[in-house]
Structures are given as structure tokens and as C-alpha cells.
Symmetry: D2
Subunit: 290 residues, 4 copies
Amino acid sequence: MTMETNPCDKPVNKGSSIPSRVSRKTKPEDTIVNINGMKVGGSDIVVIAGPCAVESREQLFETARSVRTSGANILRGGAFKPRSSPYNFQGLGEDGLKLLSEIREETGLPIVTEVMDTRQVELVASYADMIQIGSRNMQNYPLLKEVGLCRKPILLKRGMMATIEEFLLAAEYILSQGNDQIVLCERGIRTFETSTRNTLDLSAVPMLKSRTHLPVIVDPSHGTGIRWMVPSMARAAIAVGADGLIMEVHYNPEEALCDGYQSLSLREFDQLMISLNKIAVAVGRNISKL
Amino acid sequence: MTMETNPCDKPVNKGSSIPSRVSRKTKPEDTIVNINGMKVGGSDIVVIAGPCAVESREQLFETARSVRTSGANILRGGAFKPRSSPYNFQGLGEDGLKLLSEIREETGLPIVTEVMDTRQVELVASYADMIQIGSRNMQNYPLLKEVGLCRKPILLKRGMMATIEEFLLAAEYILSQGNDQIVLCERGIRTFETSTRNTLDLSAVPMLKSRTHLPVIVDPSHGTGIRWMVPSMARAAIAVGADGLIMEVHYNPEEALCDGYQSLSLREFDQLMISLNKIAVAVGRNISKL
Amino acid sequence: MTMETNPCDKPVNKGSSIPSRVSRKTKPEDTIVNINGMKVGGSDIVVIAGPCAVESREQLFETARSVRTSGANILRGGAFKPRSSPYNFQGLGEDGLKLLSEIREETGLPIVTEVMDTRQVELVASYADMIQIGSRNMQNYPLLKEVGLCRKPILLKRGMMATIEEFLLAAEYILSQGNDQIVLCERGIRTFETSTRNTLDLSAVPMLKSRTHLPVIVDPSHGTGIRWMVPSMARAAIAVGADGLIMEVHYNPEEALCDGYQSLSLREFDQLMISLNKIAVAVGRNISKL
Amino acid sequence: MTMETNPCDKPVNKGSSIPSRVSRKTKPEDTIVNINGMKVGGSDIVVIAGPCAVESREQLFETARSVRTSGANILRGGAFKPRSSPYNFQGLGEDGLKLLSEIREETGLPIVTEVMDTRQVELVASYADMIQIGSRNMQNYPLLKEVGLCRKPILLKRGMMATIEEFLLAAEYILSQGNDQIVLCERGIRTFETSTRNTLDLSAVPMLKSRTHLPVIVDPSHGTGIRWMVPSMARAAIAVGADGLIMEVHYNPEEALCDGYQSLSLREFDQLMISLNKIAVAVGRNISKL
């Protein structure tokens, strides 16, 4: 009573097997990623916070000091920015890296920042404690191989159009070069829904954690694109089992050069940290202390 | 330096305004929906549980008694089932409704069940405490109008392809007929990702609650399609601010006539209820008591 | 070197087998659907044209006479309209059906019009030569069964988020009741792209025709939502192998009560018919003559 | 009677303006791209054909000679291959470029090949007549800038999840560096439909051509992922107004190291060229002659 699929359709293989190094079958125990002393993937939950882009000494330093006081464990800030238009602010480049490095000395916060070009991996690695591969570069294979060769932890963000399997295969590219210090980050996928910037796929967290030993964190800032939605989605991310959060915080969101509409103010971030701890405790975990 | 969009594109209006009865601007305070005494939309969180379909007296009664003991507040069970294939089990029809009504007498659990045909609204309303409009019928306008005329609370599930605005407009169809006892349910949207049955859009919860006064619940069973993912997504749903959950539970999931792979066993449901209460408390709420 | 998919994921079956009546394996030869003498599914290509909604005698009659002169074979026009908002024009109802029937007498054009409610199938069937099931009702199973019991040809539009397999299964619902006079219609699917109203999936045409014996036509009006794009997409539809087209034409698109921005003017439709015939000839076919 | 959107949602700007260099408002007349003498963007339609990857001298040369005889105008072949898994064939690298250059001498066919790494742009440009930016790198901004600085024509493929506006902005990155020799390529977008590898969005062709002066071609091989569907989609692409096609052809598809299931055999390609010319004539154009 049934008809088989046309045999010519078979090659459209959406894949059901993944390679070995990233797989939990190959390595059943959780990988702990060590970011200059801060551990991700254990029982404690890490909170990464900071501005979308490093804009100025004042903006970065004020934001960094404040998120540290509120309890953030790692500082984020872009020096090289992937922007849809060539005429948008592209980041401060190496000057931004220097500012990040300076505020790390003062606050003790490890820093994570994005690299977009294979030619800049060495430069970025010389300043950063963790190197971010952004969503648009998740399948930039030369870049994945290059960061796989460097000895810094990698924050790999899910492509906005990437399946879970493609995401794991991107991590495999890094692992295949010998670097197993990888944190995966769900940051929202593109769907038909337009009321939010992306659709934050929180089911990706348990799905990824069942398939791989790598830690998984969530970015509710890009995942929603809307400031007032960040706190509730951050709480949900911890409840679902994420090992951490990365959030955009700005000392003056209205004036931010990028992503201001999805950045928390210093005060909003401070208040959020209190409620996050309650959820963490409810699932038997704690927010990390620096 | 910019080019305007082609004027002919303008009519593709994805909409930014919604009609008034459903809007929080028209009615700022939360609507409390009363399902035969059980209230949805207040500070307490309601849990609806039961089998996908009513299959037999034994299956329904054993499941109902167990979920009641575990703390469920309302019983779900389909008598008329929307199935992709005409050759799949289509439900027991009125016999299923009679069984639901019988177990309500015994357990005191209000019952919610789906209606698919305008001609059966009166019949279903004569048995059920709450009438469900399924995902595939979210834009079945004659059906929405018909249930808008009846005096029973409505559980309106989001279409798998419906935007937030279309979802609110579907509720407006019911409200426009005079029935304001509506509970909205996020149950997963269709995306490119195939590792889960749907992508549960938890950001829909805060988005809906900001726009409407109606209560919002979440269905993690259809939202994931995978039994072992239901508990973590249920916890996330409460953390994000949902007013309740609806979940499929079966006394023998392996033998279920539909959706067995996403149904919790009686024991799994019982264990889940314990952890749900912890999350509820962490966000300042409680699971309802019958 | 590979890891199997989690066994719990298996049930997420996107399906690869389809039931028998709709399948080309069961019936290898093409089905010809006869709409009051006009044949769809043979070597000639049918063109269905007319307004989105019947608005008035003048609007319908002027449009109908003009599209007939330009070479249309069948007249479309909605009497019961599925509208996102309850406050939009909902159609003229039976008065619209009467007008359609009147202009059929004059022009000889068979008429196709939509039904949304099981209770109205008999009424609509008493006027129409072909009954349309709209996109939002593709999985309205009671309605599919009801039109399966009536002896009129059915125009079944693909749901905006329906897979090819779900589309075929919807046709199977009609076939399972004994009605094999079904024309399938690709009308655009919902994707992330927002510059068009929908994404017209022309690959659905060869895919459907490889799997089923039923004729397949294309709706470039809803498929794009933009008037000036309709002609090029209509030409592409014929080039890809469609058995026909359905297009919205209005004698005064700027004043249309619905879908005016995607409706061709009488003159635009007339010009389009000339170029369509050239493409038809290039693929060895002809546009049908009334 | 309406409610405004939450003001916080506003920043989710899906964009309606595009920068100036790529815009048809800035430059109303069509840009003609000159690929070593072969012109794209005029009244003639260009056909690019060849294997997915250069695998061996025999494979490349036999395929190239045959597609040239059948009427192809430009030869494609990947030397650096973006593959989902690090363990798949990654291409022959510079050896592949040398083979491409050798067969160009013999056949006179200009060659197009992909670059993935900013560090290899100079190398690839020293061999190729046209440089391809693949779908996964459409938003690899350093790479776009780098090829913007080189004096070779660029084949820019649409990202599988890129909107029309993002696609135009990616071209703007190249234009902003002074290189206006860009051919845009629609190659299928990712949707919920799984019966094809991607959903070929043919409406992108008229939409792009209305907004930009750059030529637009179509890739029905990746757009469908299924060999037998390529011919009908290629015909539709010409009917819709594309300025050319790029197709995968292999002298032995069953043995291809990549994408064999979507590659035409030499004979299939030869037969296709005959029918393509008929469609071209029907829309008032011709297939280019070498």
C-alpha cells in the first residue's frame, strides 16, 4: 500500500552519523574547557558579558568593571566585527584588542573576541584568552582549521542556518587539528518568524549535550534581538541545561555603535544575575565565581 | 546612499498592528481562564497531562489516575484525531468523549479535547470542559467562529507555520464572537532543523504575554517530538514565564497508537513534576493544586 | 569513525513512503481531470483567471468577459474568503456563488471557488464546477473527507508549510473517499525570505509529477504576492512542466478588496497570455482553447 | 482598533534600503561582466558547466571537451572544496588549478573556480578567469574585501539562508573595493522541505534584476540536489529571465568524489542544451556561442 521514494532522491542525505572526536560515544565524559583559569562544562555555570563591539576605552572599561562587580566571569567585546553592510562600523581592530588586554589586567576577567580572517588568527590569539568563531563563519573551513592549530580555547557559534549535525561537524574540523578546547554556542536560527531577530532554539542544548562531550552555552542577545526578552530567555537557557550564557551589555545601550537594541544596561544585567542564580540552584548548579 | 524598496513590494505587509480585543493595550490586566474551577493565567502554573488519543477504557483510566496522583490539574485526550494519513487511527469519536467524561467523574480532573469539524462543536462542548483547536486548524476560520459562539474555554494551539501576529489574529476570531476564555499554546514551529520534530519557540511566551492579556502555555511533547527532551524543555518553559504546560503521558508509550515516541511514561511524568515545582518556586510561582 | 543517531530520535520520521491511490506506482498513467468539459492534465495547459474575491456584479462580469477574451479557460472567484483578520472583508457568500453561476452562463467559463466549512460543501458544490481547498485548509481532514464524497473536481492547494509528502497525503484523504478528480496546486511556501509574500517552489512541480498521476498547476499570484513578478514566474511554471496556472486578475487592482497588489490588470493579463503560449510551444505543449 | 508593536521590537529591521553601488537606481543600465572574452549580462545566455571538483586529469579533460562540444561557454571545477566533514575529499588544491589552466589552453573555455581563504586569493586569481565565492562564504567579509581588490570577475553565490538584501550587501562589499565585475548566482535556499536538497528560489531572479544592474545566473544542480530535476529547473531559470546557468556535469556521475547524485552525465548535458535553446528563443534570447 506504499510507494517508495524515488531512488534519485536518496542522495539528499540530511545525515544521521557524526564523526568520532566530537561524539560522546568516543568520549563519554564531559570536556571541561579552561579559559585562563575559568572552567566551562563542569557543574558551575559561566556568564560571559560585555559590549557587542569595543568602541572606546571609556565604554569598554566602564562596562567591564560593572559586569565584573555584578558577577560576570568572562568579558566579551568585538575588535573585528562582521557587519552586513560595508559602510557600518567595522571595529577598532588591533586597538580594540589592546584595550581588551588592558582591562583584563585590571579586572582579572579572561577575554573572548572574534576572529574572521585566517591571516589574523595569530594576532587575535596573542591577545585573547578565547577566540570566537562567529555564526557567519561556522562553515569557513580554512578558519576552523587555523584555529584548530592554535592553542587557545574556541567559542564556536552555531550558524544561523546550520543543523545540529553541521554544527558538530564544524567542531570536528577544529578537533581534527588537535584542539579540543571548544565551547559550542546556540545563538538563534533563522525561521519564518519576524517578531524576533532569530528563533532561539533551546532544544539544541539538550540535543547537543546528548551527542557531544563539549560544553554548550546560549546567547539570548542575538537569539532574540530584543533587550527586554534577554532576561527571560537567559533564565530558560539555564533551566534547559546550558553550561553558560553570553550576553551583550553596554554602559549606554541607546548610543551603542552596534546591537544597542539587544544590549542590556549595566543595571539590567546586575538585576538579571540575581534571578539567574535562583534558577541555577533549582537545577542543582551554581553561577561560577571569578 | 540608499535605494528605496520597489514600491510594488510594499503590500507584502508582515503586519505590525493587531486588533483590539486580544491586545494588552485594550485590556492591560491578565485574563484568568476558568476551566471548570481550575484557573489558568494567575500566579499558579497549571499542568495538563494525558494520552495523545483516547484508545481504551483501561489506557485512559490508568493514565488519568496516575497523572492525577502525580499532580496534574487537567486531563487531555483526543477523541477526534487529525492524522497526516487517512489510514492512521482516527480516534474513538463520541465513545472517546464518553470515556473522558466518565473518568472526570472519578478523578475530578477537568478534561480538554480537540474538535476539528464545525458540525461537532456542539457535541464536543457537551462533554468537554475545554475545547482544543489544534495546530492544523489555527486558521480554520469557520471553526474559530463556531467555538467563539460556544460558552466553553478554548485551548488555541499555534499553527506550525503561524507568526505571532497570525496567532493573535486567530484568537481575535474567537474573541470577536464573544468568547474571551482562551488559552494560547506554543507547540513548536517548523524550521529547517530536522533533529527535532518541531522547533519549540520559547521566545513566543514572553512575546505573546507582552502583547496580549491571554494566558500562554507550552507543549514540549509536540515541540520536540522526543520523549527524553520533554523534561528539560518543560523546565525551560516555566523558567521563561509560561502559565502552564500540556504534555503527553501514556501508561505504555511503546504501545501507543499515536505519538508514543514523545509520550512520557507514568513514572517519568511523576519524576518530572518534582523538578517542575523547583523551577516554579525559583520564578516566584507554584504548580497549581487540584 | 561514526556515531549513530540517538535511538530516541528515530520516530521523527519525515516519511519516505506514500499511500497507494495517489501514487504513480499504483496508477502509472496521468489522470485527466474534467472540469465541466475543460480537461486538465493532458498535453494542453489550462489557465484559470479571475478576481481574488467576488466583490460585485460589475467587477466580476467585466473581469470574466475580459479574461475569457484573452484566452482564460476557467474562471476563479472567492465567495467565502479565509482572511487573517476577522475584521477584513469575508466574501459575499451565496450571493457571490450566484454571480459566478450567472457569468458562467454568459461566458461558458467553468467556475472554481473555495469552500472552508464542511457544512457548506453541498451549497458550494451546487454552484461550482470545481471546488477549491485553500492553503490554510490543506490539513483540514473533515473538509477533505467531505469533498472526497462529493462528485466535483477538487483544486487542492499546497499548505504554505506543507512538505511534498504531506501534500500527497492530503490528496489521499480525498481519494480515499472515492473522488479521484483532483488538481494539485503549488502556491508558494513560507520561508525566511521576506521580499516576496511566499517562496514559489517550482521544483515541487517535477517532484509531484514524478510521484503522482494527478495534474499539477501553479499559482504565481500568491506565490510571489507582487504583481510585476507574476508574468515571469508564470512563464517559468510552464517551462518547468506545470499543467496549468491560476492567477488573480482584477478590472481595477488598485481598488480590489483583497490581494490587489498581486492581481494583474486586464491588460497585463492579456499581454501575458501571448508570451505564455510561446513558452508552451517551446516545451511541446499548447495553451488550452475554450 | 489597533495596537502598535512593542517599541522594543523596532530594531529588528529586516531592511528595506540597500547601498548605492549595487543599486539599479545608482546605475540603471545592465552591467556586462567580461570573463576572458565571454560576456554575461547581455542578451545572450551563458552556460557554465563542469565537475563539482577536479578529481583527475582524465576526469576533468574528458568532461571539459564534452561540455565544450555540447555548447558550454565556461568551465567550472573546484580545486579547494568546502566540505561539511573534515574527512571528505578536500580538493586537489594548486594541482587542480594547474589542470584547469591546462584544459583552458586546449579548449579555449574560460575557467571559474572557488576560493575560500583570503591567503589564497592571489594564487587562485593567477590561474582562474573568474573567482567563485561559495554559498557558505557569502558573508565572509574579509574574503569579499580581498576579492574586491583583485581584478578578476567574481561569481558570488547566494548564502543558503541569505535574504535578497543580504545578498546585495555582500556584493556591495566587493563593489566597495572597486571591483564591479560581479555575477550573482541563485543556488537554492534552505527551507523546511526535505525532498530536495535546497529550494531553488527562482523568484530571486526577477527580484534581483529589478534591484541591481548586475547579471544573475542560476545553479539548478545545488538548487535541487537531484540529477533528474536539473533539466526542468534549468529551463525554468531561463524562462524566468536568468542571464545564465551553472551546472555540474561529470563524465561518470556514479563515481564522482562529490555531488555525483546531482551531476548530469555528458549525454544528459548534451540533450539538455538543445531544449535550453528553445526556451531562450521563446523569451527572445539566445544561448551564447563560444
